[in-house]
Subunit: 326 residues, 2 copies
């Protein structure tokens, strides 16, 4: 909450805002020329880089009443770092474009920068550029860059029948945490609420999977079924998830689900924004930790579209969320 | 304007929107893996890349009543390509994060994609990734990547006393076009209105300047005096612009300025968003076209801050705009 006398974004010039934020941001291992010019320069040792962009919009992806600036900064970083990791790459740098309401406290913006630093700093990722604009809601558009270290990118399209399906990270916790906040029951399970406010992604596991021979990979941002479906569609295969692979997840969420009258399986299979990594490996590969086998790749039926099954059957829970539907 | 029955963004799924946009976007010369996975892969032949981000927000940077989707797409591309050029780099790729109101016509979004393609296609720049979100106003956050081709980046800080100051591009036209639209007199000078709606930047001149030995460079996005001031501050020098270097600019804008009761010199020296390039060159260098010499670099006074003079005197026009002030 803004306190009396706390400066607001509209009371401070753009240059003065930058002067407050830039010192909070990590310089980065691969940064050759930091922010301060029209563009930064970042190393790309193997002559290529991966690039991805993801945006968070206030009122759509977060509420300021539910998330601090630091939460939003962490989340904006994590969802982009996870996309880089899902290619099997090591993230090297971020840039951040912000739309900011004039009545946003400057302290909120500084907190956002600290949240970006929380996630990027330990990984050696630099926040090397940004842009600030006014806007009627907070918009945080992050672009992340990464280094494949000479390896081929791990795409969504390389899964083959016979591969195993493995997952690294948590499942359903962000959705459960969101449900707790929506029900005004956030004190019921701090860990789940934190998993919504600032999800953690096993970013380092992306390159680990690539080195272990992963044939396909995707960041689970829109729900396990939906993102598994994208991988299945790109690879023209069928994915059969083990029904009992998620028993521990359901158990973890059972108490909260009971209080809220919800189905924990819907959170586990359909909940978005956990930012785990779903990968496929040849059956002969040693699946590396923190990946856990959760299913198998089968041939797509000759007459049907690729799809995702759970225990051999079509799942009866919603497949995940769409950013514009509903 | 939306017509009856024209689909709106909220009526179409995110995947369906992407299916409409992606085919409109240029693939790019340096693209190794296009959009469709969690990240794209772009070549960085010399083992480095430049990266910059800039955002356009509806109601702040453009109005839908004044600019088509195509105008906004062109402008979003140009302002980022100009930042890459200002480092002396050749742009290779863009990614685009969009916030979109639900009642935006899908056709407007397709037009935006065409505008990005208008500017990127001819330069071989790929639009290799993006993200779509809801939002209460249109937000277009573009990140541009570029290739230094083995050269050192041209920063803002390399200008030295004795260098000449040169400019490529137009001056004051975007501001004049904006003033015409604001006065509801857009038919008075189509060329100026077009210069506001979709400014053109001499993007290819950036690497040309670098090869010719430019010591410093900046994209003129916030007005000539303000951006020259940034270059002067970074280089710890004084910049003295020739008073008569801008006579032709004033002449070009004189008729419109007279009708509007404005000072054409204020547009030329203070108007933003023309996206010309301001560079400094050693006095011995052959200044390459399209650059034109417009001033000189002098030593900063021992007791004073770096500053920008015009004809040896402090200019009496406003220095340019600030994104949050006023």
């Amino acid at each position: 909450m803004a306190t009396v006398g706390e400066p607001l974004v509209r009371e401070v010039s753009e240059d003065a805002l930058l002067a407050r934020i830039v010192p909070l941001l990590p310089p980065g291992r691969a940064t050759l020329l930091p922010s301060g010019d029209d563009a930064a320069v970042v190393a790309a040792a193997d002559g290529r880089f991966v690039v991805t962009t993801d945006v968070l919009v206030e009122g759509r992806h977060f509420r300021r009443a539910w998330s601090t600036g630091r939460d939003v900064g962490r989340r904006a970083a994590v969802q982009n770092l996870a996309d880089v990791a899902a290619m099997g790459a090591v993230p090297t740098a971020l840039v951040v474009a912000l739309g900011l309401p004039g009545d946003l406290p400057v302290a909120w913006l500084e907190d956002l920068a600290r949240g970006l630093a929380d996630e990027c700093g330990p990984l050696g990722v630099g926040v090397v550029g940004g842009d600030l604009s006014g806007g009627s809601e907070v918009t945080v558009a992050v672009t992340a860059l990464g280094d494949l270290e000479g390896r081929a990118p791990v795409t969504r399209s390389g899964a083959r029948p016979g591969d195993v399906v493995a997952h690294a990270g948590v499942r359903g916790r962000s959705a459960a945490g969101f449900a707790l906040l929506a029900a005004d029951l956030e004190t019921l399970d701090d860990e789940l609420v934190a998993a919504y406010r600032h999800p953690t992604s096993p970013v380092a596991a992306g390159p680990v999977a690539a080195r272990a021979g992963a044939t396909a990979m995707i960041d689970v941002s829109d729900g396990l079924l939906r993102d598994a479906g994208r991988l299945a569609a790109a690879s023209h295969v069928l994915i059969d998830l083990d029904a009992d692979a998620f028993a521990a997840d359901r158990g973890r969420l059972a108490a909260v689900a009971e209080v809220l009258g919800e189905d924990p399986t819907a959170w586990v299979l359909g909940g978005g924004e956990d930012h785990g990594l779903l990968a496929t490996f040849p059956a002969s590969a040693l699946v590396p930790g923190p990946f856990v086998v959760v299913g198998r790749v089968l041939a797509a039926p000759a007459d049907g579209a690729p799809e995702v099954l759970v225990g051999g059957a079509r799942p009866s829970v919603p497949a995940g969320w769409d950013h514009f539907a509903g």
